[in-house]
Amino acid sequence: MGNWIESKGPDSNIVLSSRIRLARNISGYHFPHVMNDEESKKIIKKLSTFMLKENRMPAGNFQLIEMADISHIERMSLVEKHVISPRLAENYKNSAVIVNDDSTVSIMINEEDHIRLQTINPGLQLWEAYKLADNIDDTIEERLDYAFDQRAGYLTVCPTNIGTGIRASVMIHLPALSMTKNLNEILNAITQVGLTIRGIYGEGSNTQGNLYQISNQITLGLSEEEIISNLAAVTGQIINMERIERAKLLQSGRARMEDSIWRALGILQNARVLSNNESLGLMSNVRLGIELGIIKDIDITTLNKLMINTQPATLIKLEGKDLDTESRDVKRAKYVRENLK
């Protein structure tokens, strides 16, 4: 299947990745936020013992990473790579992740819930991601009693996750729809069907790099299949709308569009100082150029790697020493130059 950063999937020229996350709790234990240290360790041990030592896990080799054993920068870098959530990194004293070799599967322990099982695939592959998550979920359930209620389904810390406990999402690149401001209409339509859209790498409603995450909001009263079908159908429609907008833009102003794409590449290839904001914006233009076949000698996976590796913590991790904002911007420009020559 491959890691979403390094390999391509269906509809990769608009959808970066498809992700499934299942929230689960083990019955008979307090939830993580009210647990003492001893109990937290017990949960980590309980899960890792049977998953790792008995080699019961599908999808390759897994290793346990206790958050307390790695540095703050390494934790933040895992967040930037979407392997763990910010919350897991913040609760580092009592949390851990069990992750496979290519980071397509990660099982967060003592996040908000005891278990947050996550699978990520490149491109639009929600069903494949769900099949794998479902399979691993069954494997875990063979050994552990989940907190489950016939009315409320899987019981979670927050009532917004109860029921299926599923959060299905796609990360999607929508430069043309963002440009033409049709996004508000889509926002309205999406919320009508129990989905939500939000920007990535941006606070609140702001987004940088024209990257959005679309996910289900309702987890109770619908089956997993219905939730994924809805999301897949809506994503399919948005992909179409984005394609149409892109075609329109090309038709009405090809020269302008090509100009902004090539200029963006020019800046990335030559800049000496690059802020994260600026570079994400420029990378969106270059990504669009690759997606439209205007830029031919750069692969989309190169851009994925650039996007992840120029995030602050990952950049510091690559450098091997702490960097202030200014030297980070210099380092970012250098990294981008070297990888886009």
């Binding site: 709790n25 019955s27 008979g28 234990y29 307090h30 939830f31 936020h33 009210v34 910010p86 919350r87 913040e90 609760n91 908000e112 479902d134 979920d137 069954d138 359930e141 063979e142 009693d145 989940y146 907190a147 489950f148 209620d149 016939q150 009315r151 409320a152 389904g153 899987y154 019981l155 979670t156 810390v157 927050c158 009532p159 917004t160 109860i162 029921g163 299926t164 599923i166 508000n184 926002l187 309205n188 999406i190 919320t191 009508q192 129990g194 939500t196 859209i197 939000r198 606070e203 609140g204 409603s205 909001q217 309702i218 987890t219 109770l220 009263g221 619908l222 089956s223 997993e224 939730i227």
Partner: protein, 169 residues
């Protein structure tokens, strides 16, 4: 989902913040978002627990005005209902049973639904299924006895015994 500020327009602006490990989410409409943005004090009143509280105080269609008199406490983790209202988070999986019907308006507001229809865990879910079957048979047994259908009652009693022995495993 409706805007959590005005409760009128659909919520299409979503914010997530993490402050001291506490995740807070806000789902509001564009108008309310704009007002919030223009308000220099915008950070202060926003918290997930406020939102949960406001959802729970909301009496829905008005069919069942909600007046919490006594404060229920979860015997397993000690969380009481008032505290849950403040934080919006359960302390253990037993809380759901402890707070029971009181949660329904909240779940209805969040999900538009109160009954899970998705995946059931294979192993422990099996027990739930058996328990459901036993309940059904007990009901039939009672009816059989009421109707003086003793042969049928004996049959049902055997079936229940059989299922109960599976339940113990």
């Amino acid at each position: 989902m409706l805007c959590q500020i005005c409760n009128k327009r659909p919520a299409n602006v979503h914010m997530t913040k993490i402050v001291n490990g506490e995740k807070t989410e806000l789902h509001i409409c564009e108008q309310c978002a704009r007002e919030k943005e223009n308000n220099p004090m915008n950070d202060a009143p926003f918290s997930f627990s406020n939102i949960i509280s406001s959802l729970m105080d909301f009496s829905g269609s008005g069919a069942m005005p909600y007046t919490p008199k006594e404060n229920i406490k979860c015997p397993q983790c000690g969380l009481d209902y008032a505290e849950f209202k403040k934080t919006g988070r359960f302390g253990c999986s037993n809380c759901y049973e402890s707070f029971g019907n009181r949660l329904e308006p909240l779940l209805k507001r969040i999900h538009g639904n109160t009954q899970h229809t998705g995946k059931v865990p294979k192993r422990t879910g099996g027990i739930i299924k058996i328990k459901r079957d036993i309940e059904k048979l007990r009901y039939e047994l009672k009816r059989a006895i009421d109707n003086e259908e003793y042969e049928k009652a004996a049959e049902l009693r055997d079936k229940i015994k059989n299922l109960e022995s599976q339940d113990m495993k």
